[in-house]
Assembly symmetry: C2
Homo-oligomer: 127 residues x 2
Amino acid sequence: MSSPSATQNTYPYQNEPIWSRSEKIIARKAFDAALGRELHEVIQEAKKMASQIQQSSDLWDLEYYLTERRKEIDRKYDYRYSQLTQVFGRLLYEKRLREEEELRGLREDKLKSIGSFAKFLAEDTAA
Amino acid sequence: MSSPSATQNTYPYQNEPIWSRSEKIIARKAFDAALGRELHEVIQEAKKMASQIQQSSDLWDLEYYLTERRKEIDRKYDYRYSQLTQVFGRLLYEKRLREEEELRGLREDKLKSIGSFAKFLAEDTAA
């Protein structure tokens, strides 16, 4: 009777990977680092856009840019263990994470899932 | 059967003042000048806020500020002749218009309505 999205959040979920304590530490650090870098980018861009505002349309362009980026960041950075392989897959695909360096220490099956999702996104975009 | 707001927009409306050609020119100029000044203020504030952004909360504060100001400006600057006395009354109350200077040439009954609405707002706020 539950909706697909409700089912997705049910815990424990059969196919959901278990994250060990050491993996959780690695995941949190990689997640926060990527988010920090992305926020830094948006801050730099917002400062640049603001400094170049000349007329009201530039002002509302800045508002629109910020709203869209906030929504995108909210959607993208979902720290639920059920979502993390997809989150990291996307960050890898967007080159916001350095796999070798920042995901080192995750179990091989997780790295494989993350890589597969990144590959899927790359092929999906190219198609 | 129509809602109050639909009725309000019906034209011609019995009690609605007629705006002469010369009054329309004065009104347009005063309206545009006040809007231009208010937009200039928002632009200056946005530039200042952006230049001071240090963390993500400052970024989303800027977005929120811009969204609220856009909505407020959209609501406030309603150039329909049926609304203009209230629009000017509000601008006068907010000291965004110089009555003597910028509304000179409007008919006495309009100036009186505009002044009455400004006074109403002042009393309404003080109450």
